[in-house]
């Protein structure tokens, strides 16, 4: 080609300063000046990864050695934009050089390029002369008949076709001091030798064993250049003259640098051709931002092509920047001798290898796992660019025999390659870059914000090979320098091994692969194994035993079609009856069920009737048994239906125990099902014992959420206790956790206990008791042992506790043995308010209070008969074994008579009906009436519910004409409600047994014809004398002398239904309890036998097996 045919901006005769003829993108590049960080040449950086074998399809390419650079990029080097050759005129038209321009924005395109948009092929009027077909043909004839620049070629492509002596016939624009000449210089200077070495590492003789697989890669041989061609390469630079005013826009891209076939040979030997010709950038970076090859190959997508070349024009090349900023860079090329020396491959591969700075042994193993960059490899079309074989087939066969036979089928695949890189993983090439997460794209790499990047202008996350490239100092470590320092030698001088490998590369037959084939080649573990007949470098794979193992492991993990087939085969197998399993299940089933049918089938003894004194269970019972009358006990039923069989009897026992002692159980749960079940249980107990909801017991509403709910419950107690589970008001006046005399948690989960222990218990000082399931006990132990020390666990403890409670309820005596002197259960000081009932018309005398009070209190105040010891007194002295001495184990209970009850807001129902109305036993009209009230009669309202008819029903109580107290229900439309504040005046009335203490509050309720504000309440201030005497003796006599003052006016006396502490609680049903215990015992026994015998048998079998071996 003559200069005349070149565009003006390529013509060396043209004025370099005159950029008018340059395309815009070149002008921009030129304007940037060498010091400008902006530089184009983006795409070529990774083009060394491309399949660089010339295609057989194109006869014009046949016979060329590998190029290592596709023509899409080489157009920048050659005088002809090769991509135009592969593109239709329409495509060409869109190849603007400014990526900011739209496809159809031809105005921005060079005229010669935009003109081709509509021009016929033959009509090249719009093209510059050097692009005109005719001119091109002419130029080719002028330059070299055999030289045809194709889209598969790079700088070295045409060098490949040249002889050493024919270097003079190179295009003149390459031999002249033109910008394109400097392009070669830049290329020479910009090649990072470290990268070479990196790729070269796999062929290091010292790593022969570990890299045997890599040697079997035929692709590198397919790309191998003949020595003479490499000499051509050297000659090229020899021809080149340094220039000081090279056009930086003509600098080769990094891909062009790598596109050098010599370089690509090195690369391919080491890695990347083995990776399956990942000849696009995405395949390396693993990103989707930039698909160079995809854009180039998509001939129909002009926009993408447009963008591509915009990328080429606009971004900066850090490498080129570095080179451009290097003052010594160009001077290096002034030394023609630099390129005069031949390239010696052996030197490159040998001990004096300048690339040995790369220690392949230091390569991390992480890269083997990081195959994300392979994700896009399926998008890579194959290009058949096989070179002509260097040797004849017979020679190659002979050489092949000398190949190392370390693997059965020396064929290649990605697994093979990776396996060969035991010491050379991807991280050595790419650095510690996570290509999946790293936001690496060329926009980032060439961003203007260079100060935010690393020293080289790259992101700190940039792969090492890029950073290494930017660190290259031209002339010191450049490719040209290295090449020039090496002596090349003919292929015949290569060692046999390399010869064989080289020749084997020519055996590789390839054809364009489909994406599926590529994917299957790269991911053999997907179950699609490659066929032996596959003839490409990628497809002809074979796995070593180790690789097969790894593939199997991966297949096991991810599953695949093969596994699915195996699974199908398994399902098709005849199913074998699991006799063993059925037999064991049958044995266990019989063992569990038999005790329910056979009374005599008992294993061991039943749970004891009494807890061992001093045990945690015994402490539990004692704390429950010392509940004062009238106090509230908080019971948390934190279990569902699954644990009902184990914990139901414990819950029922606790509730009945509390009720029997005169306490008021307040039940709460964060388990919705558990709460409903407890509510049902309480309904049953209430029906048996005539208890009134929200009076004798309270089932509080559902406790929402766990941690926060419990904390809120602790902090806002009164609001939580305001309503019961049915939405009725509870009238509980409790706003402090210490108002509960005991807290009992019944749980199936240690986690629930933990939550209560963390959120509730720290805020209270009252005794804390727990009942856990057998499984929850171990994890509950830390909390229980610290705070309570008294808990039950499992069915056995519940069984015994139920026995003891039942004995109490049936009036049986509890045998309390003499306590051992070492037992000391410390109960925190508890101020238990005890309301001393005062009979209005009697004088009570208190004698023989069971708890031992160690201080004497004499209080003559009639309305404050209170004995409140300042401190708890702990007596460790063992009392005598009498019934009254039972609580003296820890006689710290505080006796606090409190005869000053707070005012009560009483609601009265006034009958508004004109005729007598029936009082129903339940909130409905279905059952017979329980009583009758006449018009304007009054009754005390004690509860309120919504009936089945949707109306409000009020639970009322009154005294009928016969003097009987009637409790029943009346509908809202028959009454009028009136609220009255009452201040009941208690009258001391104590009975010898605290369990039978009863408080009856009598108030005068004005009836018909009387005033609604009775005077009895304020006047009912008794004058009382109370004397409490206490001695430190096992038996204390407390005497109270009460002289009440009778109310002045008392018309009608009504019993306000306060909690009846003198209840007679029915004992629990214990049917099948023993059978269940026996069932558990027998089941456990059989389980022990099964597990023990089975494992013993297996153990013996394994031992014998080992001995046989």
């Amino acid at each position: 080609m003559t200069d005349d045919l070149l565009p003006p901006w390529l013509n060396d005769d043209s004025d370099d300063s005159d950029d008018n003829d340059l395309p815009d993108w070149l002008q921009n590049a030129d304007d940037d000046s060498p010091q400008s960080p902006k530089k184009s040449g983006v795409t070529g950086e990774l083009s060394w990864m491309q399949d660089d074998s010339p295609s057989n399809d194109n006869p014009s390419k046949k016979g060329r050695a590998s190029t290592g650079l596709t023509g899409e990029l080489s157009w920048n080097q050659a005088e002809t934009p090769d991509f135009l050759q592969d593109m239709s005129p329409d495509d060409s038209a869109t190849m603007g050089y400014d990526d900011n321009q739209a496809d159809d924005d031809d105005d921005a395109l060079p005229d010669w390029l935009s003109a081709s948009d509509d021009a016929d092929d033959d009509d090249n009027s719009g093209l510059p002369a050097w692009l005109d077909d005719d001119a091109l043909e002419e130029s080719e004839r002028l330059v070299q008949q055999s030289f045809t620049m194709t889209d598969e070629m790079s700088v070295v492509d045409f060098l490949d076709e040249e002889d050493d002596e024919e270097s003079e016939e190179l295009p003149s624009w390459l031999t002249d001091e033109s910008p394109t000449t400097s392009q070669s210089n830049v290329f020479a200077g910009a090649v990072d030798t470290s990268t070479w070495g990196n790729f070269e590492g796999s062929d290091e003789p010292t790593n022969e064993e570990s890299l045997t697989d890599a040697f079997t890669d035929d692709s590198w041989i397919s790309d191998t250049e003949t020595p003479d061609l490499e000499e051509d390469f050297s000659d090229l630079f020899t021809q080149s003259s340094p220039t000081s005013d090279f056009n930086r826009s003509d600098l080769p891209t990094t891909g062009m640098l790598f596109g050098d076939d010599d370089f690509s040979n090195e690369v391919d030997e080491g890695s990347f051709d083995l990776l399956g010709t990942p000849n696009d950038i995405d395949s390396l970076l693993g990103g989707d931002d930039f698909d160079l090859l995809g854009e180039l190959n998509d001939d129909g997508d002009d926009a993408q092509a447009f963008d591509l070349f915009g990328e080429l024009a606009e971004p900066q090349t850090p490498i080129a920047n570095e080179l451009a900023n290097d003052d010594d860079f160009m001077s290096n090329f002034g030394d023609d001798d630099l390129f005069d020396e031949d390239i010696d491959i052996d030197a490159l591969l040998g001990e004096e290898d300048p690339f040995r700075q790369f220690d392949t042994n230091t390569v991390s193993e992480e890269a083997e796992d990081d195959l994300s960059w392979l994700e896009d490899i399926s998008n890579v079309p194959f290009q058949d660019t096989r070179p002509e074989p260097l040797f004849k087939p017979e020679t190659r066969a002979k050489l092949s025999q000398n190949l190392p036979q370390s693997q059965p089928e020396p064929e290649l695949d990605i697994e093979n390659y990776l396996a060969s890189l035991d010491d050379m993983s991807l991280s050595s090439i790419t650095g510690d870059v996570d290509f999946e997460s790293a936001d690496l794209d060329f926009e980032t790499l060439f961003d203007d914000n260079r100060e935010e990047m690393g020293m080289s202008g790259l992101s700190p996350d940039a792969p090492s090979w890029l950073t290494d490239l930017t660190a290259v100092t031209a002339g010191e470590n450049s490719a040209a320098a290295i090449l020039s320092g090496q002596k090349d030698r003919p292929a015949e001088d290569l060692p046999d091994r390399l010869k064989a490998l080289r020749e084997r590369g020519f055996d590789v037959q390839s054809h364009p692969k489909t994406d599926a084939e590529v994917l299957s080649a790269l991911m053999p573990v997907s179950g699609v194994m490659l066929s032996d007949t596959a003839d490409s470098a990628i497809a002809t794979v074979a796995l070593t035993a180790g690789q097969v193992q790894r593939a199997e492991l991966l297949r096991t993990i991810v599953g695949n079609a093969l596994e699915a087939n195996e699974a199908d085969e398994k399902t098709r197998r005849p199913r074998r009856l699991p006799i063993e399993r059925l037999f064991i299940t049958a044995i266990l089933l019989v063992a569990v069920l038999a005790p329910f049918f056979l009374d005599n089938l008992r294993i061991g003894a039943p749970p004891p009737n009494q807890f061992v004194v001093g045990s945690r269970q015994d402490a539990f019972y004692r704390l429950m048994d010392t509940i004062p009358a009238g106090v509230h006990i908080l019971i948390a039923a934190e279990y569902g239906a699954m644990s009902a069989g184990e914990l139901d009897i414990a819950t029922e026992s606790v509730v009945r125990h509390v009720l029997a002692n005169g306490g008021i159980p307040v039940i709460i749960s964060s388990n919705a099902v558990g709460l409903v079940r407890v509510d049902n249980l309480m309904d049953t107990i209430a029906a048996q014992n005539r208890l009134v909801a929200n009076v004798d017991y309270v089932v509080v509403r559902y406790l929402v959420t766990d941690v926060v709910g419990l904390r809120d419950f602790s902090e806002n107690l009164s609001s939580y206790l305001a309503f019961d589970v049915d939405g009725n008001r509870t009238r509980l006046a409790i706003d402090d956790l210490n108002d509960f005399a005991r807290v009992v948690i019944i749980t199936e989960s240690a986690d629930n206990l933990r939550l209560w222990g963390e959120q509730v218990l720290p805020l209270m000082t009252q005794p804390f008791l727990a009942i856990t399931s057998y499984s929850a006990a171990p994890l509950s132990e830390p909390y229980l042992s610290i705070r309570a020390g008294a808990y039950l666990s499992g069915y056995g403890d519940s069984y015994t506790y139920q026995t003891m409670v039942n004995r109490l309820l049936t009036g049986g005596e509890v045998i309390i043995p003499t306590l051992p002197p070492t037992v000391e259960i410390i109960i925190p000081t508890t101020e238990v308010p005890v309301v001393i009932p005062i009979d209005a018309d009697s004088t009570a005398e208190i004698t023989e209070i069971s708890p031992i009070v160690t201080e004497s209190v004499v209080d003559t105040t009639p309305d404050a008969i209170t004995a409140t010891p300042d401190s708890a007194i702990v007596t460790t002295e063992a009392p005598t074994a009498t019934l009254t001495a039972m609580p003296s184990a820890t006689p710290t209970a505080t006796f606090t008579p409190t005869p000053s009850p707070t005012p009560i807001v009483a609601r009265f129902a006034i009958i508004t009906a004109a005729t007598p109305i029936n009082i129903r036993p339940d909130p409905s009209t279905t059952n017979p009436p329980a009583g009758v009230l006449r018009p304007e009669e009054r009754a005390l309202i004690i509860n309120q519910v919504t009936g089945v008819d949707g109306q409000q029903w009020y639970n009322i109580t009154f005294v009928n004409n016969a003097g009987e107290t009637v409790i029943g229900w009346v509908r809202e439309d028959l009454i009028q409600i009136e609220e009255t504040v009452l201040t009941p005046t208690p009258t001391p009335s104590m009975t010898p047994s605290s369990k039978q203490m009863r408080m009856i509050m009598r108030v005068g309720i004005p009836q018909k014809g009387q005033e609604s504000t009775p005077e009895i309440t304020p006047e009912a201030t008794p004058s009382a004398e109370a004397t409490l005497e206490a001695e430190i003796t096992p038996q204390v006599t407390v005497t109270a002398v009460v002289v009440p003052t009778l109310p002045a006016v008392t018309s009608i006396v009504v019993d306000i239904p306060m909690p009846d502490t003198d209840r007679l609680i029915a004992p629990m049903d214990v049917t099948d309890r023993q059978a269940r215990w026996d069932s558990m015992a027998l089941g456990i026994l059989v389980a022990v036998i099964v597990i023990g015998v089975g494992n013993l048998f297996n153990l013996v079998r394994v031992i014998f097996r080992k001995r046989r071996r």
């Binding site: 569902g640 079940r677 709910g709 902090e715 994890l779 509950s780 132990e781 026994l1085 153990l1099 394994v1102």
Partner: protein, 211 residues
Amino acid sequence: MRIRLGAALASALTFAIGLVVILGLLLPDETLLPQTWVNLIRSVTSVLLQLTTITAALAILVGIFNLLLVHLSRLFKRERGFLYSLVLIISFFVVIITYFFAREVNTLLLENIQRTVESALAGLLFFALVYGAYRMMHQRVTWASVVFILVVLFVLVAALPFDIPALQEIRAWLMSIPVNAGARGLLLGIALATVVTGVRVLIGVDRSYRD
């Protein structure tokens, strides 16, 4: 680094509220702070806790509503398994109705269906666990499996109602020393993890409240 305004606000709000709640819960009665402040912080904490529980309660209602919608949709669209959806919807309304209008029936359903089914499921564990333990050393024998089986057998034998004092003592020792130690270790781990998670949430490292 870009900071979204919404994320910043959410983080700030979370941090502020978390700090107030922590202060409200941890402040002792006697502090250097004025009592008015203490009371104010505690009041705010109480309100926040109640708001949380109310929100959780509402979430339950929303969940029930959503559950019904999903299964009604499956029912009307005759999607696969719509019969199960039908059973669920019928069960839901039967339980609701019987709770208010026929409490006895509701109790009957609860005790004879739900409790029975759940207890049966729990009972199945017995068979599964025993068979699993039986197969423990079927494939291979390791020291861990041997120790595991020995401990299982010992605990089970100790649970038998045989009056063997030595066995009971060993079991008691196991429960009080190794098991208790392990349990305490677990609880400590839980506590530490809770603290760490709480701090992470407060300072915005865990951004679940923003998602």
